[in-house]
Amino acid sequence: MDFIELFDACVKETKPRLDKYTTPTSLDTTLKEEDIGLDSLDLTLSLILVMDVYGIPETQDFNIPTESLKAVMDYMHENKTRDFDSVEAAMKEVV
């Protein structure tokens, strides 16, 4: 499953309007608001959905590294309890 595509799908699911959002094109994309157009709430909601997709239980310390999309991907891959073949299948699973 392509991680950029998954992240993009999660943003589109959680953000009410996308006019300020820039779809990432590389894993090196930073998650700073000025680079990607997501505020702290957008980012939190999107990351919670990504965690749900990978079956990662929520913990009290929400300390996902957010320097870049690659850092997020590495965190998810290290902690995942499930995976999907496609973004479509993943998004269908999160009810």
């Binding site: 959680t14 009410p16 505020d39 709430l41 909601l45 919670i48 929520e58 999160v94 009810v95």
Partner: protein, 370 residues
């Protein structure tokens, strides 16, 4: 002069029987709003509210800046409704059970700020929790900001968590919403001796109030004045049968609008159809106005709680454009005032009323003559 230049409504006349709750009852539910709610990823009221924040409304605001300040008010009703607090809601397979992963944004000012930022509002963002009167109560705030504080535009978003296992439990237990077991002998209606009560309903409304400006669309209505009152009552869940709270709000709104009781010809009642509201609202209207016709929308779309005041005002505006004041559904008696039939729309101002638990009564006056 303040104009209601645009509104966007969401509600449904369709009802669904919710049977896996302690007091089975029909409710006006929009099923798509419960998508991804069981996982807590989506909060049904947010999903519904965001359907009325349309591209067209956003673009209108962004493309037509006003000279003065712009405000955003989120009329959120009784913000505390969340089904996971219900005494009986322990079953996560129940039809309407849902989780909330980010509870601090549910119906709070954080959510208001999130939506206000879409409209690039930087001058005023606030939230109101005046229960079922909320969206009409904030009309007093709209009036205040626009008449006294240099605001040329105020956007009001309204909706609350009106259909969930807790509200169904609370209103069912209180005997306010009509239970399924009673439907054989009774249907929702108002001001009627046989049919009474309401179903709960999901609803949301976005309204844009403006002073006249170069880019303004042809407005839907003039907003003439509003007032919100309490009444002399020690029971926060009760209403005085003499309608003191309603009367004080009506007379306050007439005073602000510089109208007399003869100028109001149409009333959109709160119209829940409960015995106490029937007595209070009817007594107040007969005392505070002269010749009028009255309708109610809760029998069509359910009680959408905090959204109901402005949402039903929008529905009335749509009906007035068609030239009618619609009947109150399920009346069993002929009635020329609390209408048992569709009446032609008369000339004159119209009054919208709302009441909320906790002793709050709101009245707002409008005119379609723009």
């Amino acid at each position: 002069m303040i104009y209601l230049s645009k509104f966007v409504l969401s509600s449904t006349e369709h009802t669904t029987l919710v049977s896996d709750v302690p007091f089975p009852q029909h409710a006006h539910i929009i099923p798509s709003t419960f998508r991804r709610a069981k996982s807590g990823m989506k909060y049904p009221p947010h999903t519904l509210l965001e359907t009325v924040v349309t591209d067209e409304a956003v673009n209108y605001v962004l493309d037509n800046p006003v000279q003065g300040k712009t405000g955003f008010i989120f009329a959120a009703g009784n913000q505390g409704w969340m089904n996971n607090n219900g005494r009986y809601d322990k079953d996560d397979t129940a039809e309407l059970h849902y989780k909330v992963k980010i509870p601090f944004i549910v119906l709070t000012n954080i959510y208001a700020g999130r939506i206000a930022s879409i409209f690039h509002v930087h001058d005023h963002v606030s939230t109101d929790a005046s229960a079922c009167a909320s969206s009409l109560k904030v009309m007093m705030d709209v009036q205040n900001l626009m008449n006294n504080f240099g605001f040329d535009r105020v956007i009001v978003l309204s909706g609350e968590d009106s259909v969930n296992n807790l509200t169904l439990e609370f209103f069912g237990e209180a005997g306010a919403s009509l239970q399924h077991k009673d439907e054989g002998e009774m249907q929702p209606s108002a001001f009627d001796s046989t049919n009474k009560g309401f179903f709960l309903g999901q609803g949301a409304v976005l309204s844009i109030f403006e002073k006249e400006h170069r880019g303004m669309v042809y407005p839907e209505a003039k907003f003439l004045g509003a007032y919100t009152s309490a009444e002399d009552n020690t029971n926060p869940l009760g209403q005085r049968s003499d309608g003191q709270g309603y009367s004080k709000s009506i007379e306050g709104a007439l005073h602000i609008a510089k109208l007399t009781k003869d100028d109001v010809t149409v009333v959109k009642t709160h119209g829940t159809g409960t015995d106490v509201n029937n007595a209070a609202e009817k007594t107040a209207l007969m005392r505070s106005l002269n010749t009028f016709v009255a309708t109610s929308y809760k029998q069509r779309i359910g009680h959408t709680m905090g959204a109901s005041g402005l949402l039903e005002t929008g529905l009335l505006l749509n009906d007035l454009k068609r030239g009618i004041v619609p009947q109150i559904l399920n009346r069993t008696e002929a009635d020329d005032v609390f209408l048992s039939y569709d009446a032609p729309a008369p000339q004159g101002a119209f009054l919208s009323l709302a009441a909320g638990m906790g002793n709050v009564y709101s009245a707002a006056l409008f005119s379609t003559e723009v």
